[in-house]
Amino acid sequence: MGNYLPSTSTEREQMLADLGYESIDDLYAVVPAEARVHDLALPEGLSELELRDRLGAMAAKNTVFRSVFRGAGAYRRFVPALVKTVIAKEEFVTAYTPYQAEISQGVLQSIFEYQSMVCELTGMDVSNASLYDGATAAAEAVFMCQDRKRSTVVVSKTVNPQTIETVRTYCEGRDVEVVVVPMRNGATDMQALAEALDDKTACAIVQQPNYFGVLENTGEIIETIHEAGAKAIVSADPVSLGILASPGEMGADICVAEGQSLGLPLSFGGPYLGIICCTKQLMRKLPGRIVGQTEDARGNRAFVLTLQAREQHIRREKASSNVCSNEALCALAAGTYLACMGPRGLARAAELSCSKAHYLAERLAEIPGFELVWDSPFFNEFMTSCPIDPHALEQGLAERGVLAGLPTEHGILWCTTELNSKTQIDELVDMVRSAVR
């Protein structure tokens, strides 16, 4: 049995005696008997050796795919070795939120750098220190836009469905309506969008590239949203921003993103990284921690948590968000990732992902029944039809170590990243071809 206690039972008895107590139970005298545990139904504790075996056995029951052609909001991407090294450093791993700036400059500076890189990437003015994930970032972004006059939310059907669901849950608490705009040819239906917006609309959310991989006309969409007097929230894929127009340059008020692609492993869905950033006009509505630069009395540059007047521990019930923990270690990973990749490396990742998707789409189209569902331009994900039961296809490929695209109501949603070599793609196409034969 482990316990990680430094003191032995003898030492503890001695300390207790020093305190003048006979039994540790004396310290629990105030706990009513009815609330006391009598027989805790937990298993016996394990030694480290047994623990490694036990968890190792669970891990071994999961399939780690040799090649992955599935994205839909979570991406297996290249992670530089340095990123893994950095986020394993115990000083970063075991630190608390950097309240004590004098001994936390390393954490604070890493967040400041993260904030700066996120602003560069998205073209926005201000970023916070991160949120839980892309979906909650979208929900918090909605809260930033709401006021007494404008509170309803418009979301394009082409936004990741999990993001839509999360926004719905968050809005439920405040009884706010969430209107979903239908799509047309895989992209947001512009006419329907214009119709959905009214003078109660606080904001509208679109995603670029959208959930189906299609490239939206973000500029036009944002213009339409602004014309209705609402705020435009763009959910972006951060790697694609290596080459795609930034939400900032397209006029977005808030940009949110799932940051997992920036150096984090798939990890069965979490921890991921919620990126949120905005124009300077909205800065004081931004939720979560923000690190700012200042000086100490000796004139040294120093970083601190700042603009705390926004936060729950000051505003309490008047705070617009209850966020306190962010995903600092994930933000460190993202910052390190972006520093490793640099502008050219990130562009390369985006270019490879996009080119490979087009190659895969072309190769798949050689197989009867695997046509592109829409003829819209796409980035690194795309939807094809499937002439057989998609779950049978998925199963067949899985047995050969390949994770197929995601079966959806519209067809199969395929994804490529820089990790999918031409060899892998050709192999996949061969497997698919034999599967439908």
Binding site: P271, E317, E418
Partner: protein, 489 residues
Amino acid sequence: MKLVFELSKQGRASALLPECDVPEALPDAAFRRAEAPALPEVAEVDLDRHYNGLADEAFGVCNGFYPLGSCTMKYNPRINEEVSALPGFSDIHPLQPEGTVQGALEAMATACDLLAEITGMDAVTLQPAAGAQGEFTGLLLIRAYHKAAGDDARTKIIVPDSAHGTNPATASMAGFDTVNVPSNESGGVDLEALRAAVGPDTAGLMLTNPNTLGLFDPNIIEICSIVHEAGGLCYYDGANLNPIMGIARPGDMGFDCVHLNLHKTFSTPHGGGGPGSGPVGCKAHLKDFLPAPIVEKRDGAYALVNPERSIGRMKSFYGNFGVAIRALAYILALGKDGIPEAARTAVLNANYLMSKLEDRYAIPFAGPCMHEFVMDIGPLKEETGASALDVAKRFLDFGMHPPTMYFPLIVHEALMVEPTETESRETLDAAAEAFLAIWDEAHDNAEALHNAPLTTRIGRPDEVRAARNPVVRWMPDARDFGGSDGAKR
């Protein structure tokens, strides 16, 4: 330390990605960005040194004593990092077919079962990403429960004045109004005030127990009864579960739902501010409302299923899975004896340290305490001019992390000390000596304390300036950020 941007030189880079091995196919110019983002261009060797330099300026549990009250900064076992990094956990896609992730689902189901047992709840979701999101989830459950019962009048959440700021903020997020109830002279909930506060508009009560003064409320069962009798539900804020895990269960106290901070009680690392994990447990009557999806075992296989009347999804996928694995490892390691032993030792350590300090420092509420205690620096300040801030900052010079400052709000010059169970007697003695030395210094020369810390690379930063003239990003030379003096290359 230079900023990473200040190390950048055009053209520097690591050779990370290969050339394209398929025909290039890129989006039309209309979709492309006008100019590349000004990300840093730095060689690997310089990046490596940069991040080592930053790590040198970070302070974690691995560096020393961290008695940060309410944060439960216990030791983070290394084996937990190792097992959570296994490719079978870290390299699986959340949308893989269920048949290929049975081990992951088993791990989640096991963690839920163990947490349910520890809290005395009937069901648990791992989805909330942190304590605050757990609170939000819990209040949405309460909201959904009343709504399902057709009871729309319950719009108020009762919160004691000693509560964390997240409690009232969460109530607002969930569409409730907050009713604050005062503490009684022993630091617990004032029963009379509570009785006066409850009524047909009461949706529920949010309570931390032991509370933020480190005190277990002896009236806890009556408190829950009062709320229940008024038709409200009771929400247990698990921030302070550590001293009672395996000893007493929120479920047995009368709570209907609870959130846990895996990054506090269950030893997962704080990561400099996250990722955390805030699972929520509830009694059977709330189970159908849990966020979607939850794990269930059906016909011998684990599956993800959506509860019947789910409040919806709190975030993408299934929660901070990697964090849950670490917590699972922790609970499996400690087991039925280790869990309460850790709790008892946390309480012992807090009382031991408090007993070494109480002759000098004012302890506003009589003990014994649970896992933490609050010192009131008010009397010392009055006598010498040394504030809670001064004491905390001076503590840095002793190579230890200071206690939580100025919380709870009901003690104006509070220092909140939580040693946790993973500290040895020697460490506690060293901390006590430091506090006593500072007490002496305050009496000898309080002026000097205002300049503390003296041994850190930077002194106290100007926080007012940071907030008044926010510089929240580095800015390349060519651009500027509004009127502020953005950090320049």
